[in-house]
Symmetry: C3
Subunit: 276 residues, 3 copies
């Protein structure tokens, strides 16, 4: 029996937990969603009946849009309930260490912390026609604070990671696959069936094997707590920078955090949106 | 003059040694093949006339199928003759450090330790139409013990490595190329010519250069002896687990280690083969 | 106001500096080009108005061909003016650490140190029809000394890096993209527009963000000074080897360092050029 959440809809199928992210209108990562993710990870820790979790979005256009920039202190505070540190990066690192096998099924936009959440999962499968990835922090004068730097460099190498981090651009599913941002781009019509099949298959194998494998893989490829903390602190410090504030204000005036603006191209989708 | 082996057919061409793996009926890795590989690596160490070795299979359907699960203690014991440790992982790590440049020319199935042998070679070229790769250990409740975790994570990153290790699924040559499991998928009809050309070309360059380059590359990308030893011990410990034993017995009843079963789809080729 | 250089043509556009490498006839890396690169990096350090630099070649057939093997001591000496060490590897490592965002726009051949210069940049975009990459050092009995080993292994993994380093072969832009040698292969007709757009976009974001991101990415993916130094010393020591000298002399007799020979196939473009 799984606890109920405000922004997560869950469905149990054997030892597979299907989790649908449902924080209208655009799945912003704010205090409520962070709070629910903390509770879910605690549930993962304690519930021996959950072997695999599949994360998807209730909103076909947005997997997780990005953080709610009007509530940065509040959502970071919520994250601290799990780790003792007001840091979503440290929270996501704990997600990467959970015994549960986590699969991100990505439709729609996964920008900034939406991308970082997907990167914290064990596997990423993206809808070829609709998934969009971006780490747009540098456009504001920020650095990704929730593990994006650590994961992207290890997945795609220095050159492609610097490109993604510096350009702040949108990457579609096919390019994300070529760069290693996701495992594979899958036709949208087949995606749900594909992730469900994989989840059920893994769930049919002994949990002690997946736990042992994950520990050995993380020992190689999951960055240290110290590195996550540095990135998290850099983000936390930079949000007080006046130039960052000016750009956030400008972005809000242009429709940032509203559905239509983010749907069409994002504030940074075009090359000439932000003037120096 | 090269020593002769029971399960390896060799042919010398200049300073290129062609090695054909020939352990009928399906190139299982058992005590004889491990013994011959130990002798071959010792030959590499001592014979200054061998600069490049190309490994292929005498069996078009199986490169190396996997270990003979009925002889685990015996084949591990054989490996110890080279390194002093009863571990194929440590043996394969020594292969990765040999002065000889090693090329794996893969046709047919390379599952579990078959994949790990290929990963221990310096380069991997796969027949597009026939090569199949899998690390199926987790389906038994095991973890790959001969370096597969160490190599796959470094070659394809955390997400794709976890997918391969968790799903225990078959990967064809094209997907293996996209994931970095192999250097390239080559049309089967061109593969032998391709690897021979590369081998002859490398053999025409000074051995002191390839030796120096290999040492520098291994310093970056070959995992430590300690990491290989941990993985090897995890495998060795897990084989005594009753649930692993139950699954092995079940697999044998279903035709595991027989040609027809392994040819058609492997015991784990279908998603619903193993019940939890 | 940017200083003027003998082998580099520069053009300022906002905070983007366009740098065209112009050392006729084939953009060999000799003392003059190294001297100018030292001065350019010093300019990067001091000039707060430069945020992004795009490197391209004035010669459509050669990005940077390779080092001038007749002037090895002299060009290494020039590099020492920046770092105190007579090593182009250490110079290129400093380039990778500069606060300026660097983009390599590669048309034509980028062999040996030409490839290593591109690898030292933050991003690499290659003309699909014309760009060619090679680390041909092993054909001479040399090891790449200016960071090529460090970058290639981290970008493409052990197997593909060993292939490139051992075969000394030419890689076209598409294969270079598949291997991760470059970020992307772009149709030649679109390349200049593409890199200019990216440069202008990045230049519109706050420099303090790109500086912070670069430091964090380099902490993960830029090899240590010690590793660059080892590779540089290996190269420096090996050039005095008689067999290396013999091969260099042979190569010069065959047209090495002349336009026509290097244009058509390079001395090592064919598999049978160098006899053992």
């Amino acid at each position: 029996m799984i606890a109920s959440f405000e922004t997560l809809k869950t469905r149990v199928e054997g030892s597979v937990l299907h989790v649908s992210i449902d924080a209208p209108p655009i799945n912003l990562m704010g205090p409520k969603l962070v709070r629910d993710l903390v509770d879910l990870i605690l549930e993962f820790d304690q519930n021996e009946d959950i072997h695999v979790a599949v994360f998807k979005s209730a909103n076909p256009d947005f997997f997780i849009s990005h953080v709610d920039v009007t509530k940065i202190a509040a959502y970071r505070e919520e994250a601290g309930r799990l780790t003792g540190e007001a840091s979503v990066g440290m929270l996501f690192r704990r997600l990467s260490e959970t015994k549960v096998v986590t699969i991100a099924q990505i439709e729609g936009r996964a920008r900034a912390i939406g991308s970082e959440f997907a990167l914290a999962c064990d596997m990423r499968f993206a809808a070829r026609e609709t998934a969009i990835f971006s780490q747009f922090e540098s456009a504001f004068g920020l650095t990704p604070g929730a593990g994006g730097i650590q994961h992207l460099v290890r997945l795609m190498g220095r050159g492609r990671a610097l490109e993604a981090l510096f350009t702040a651009a949108d990457y579609d599913a096919d390019l994300a696959e070529r760069y290693g941002w996701v495992n594979r781009a899958i036709p949208a019509a087949e995606l749900e069936g594909f992730t469900t099949q994989i989840a059920q298959r893994i769930a049919s194998f002994p949990p002690f094997a997946t736990t042992a494998i994950k520990a050995r893989v993380n020992a190689i490829a999951l960055a240290s707590e110290a590195d996550f903390r540095i990135d998290s602190d850099l983000f936390g410090d930079a949000v007080t920078n006046p130039e960052v504030g000016r750009r956030m204000k400008l972005a809000m005036q242009r429709g940032f955090q509203t559905r239509d603006t983010e749907l069409d191209f994002g504030v940074f989708g075009h090359l000439d949106e932000i003037e120096p």
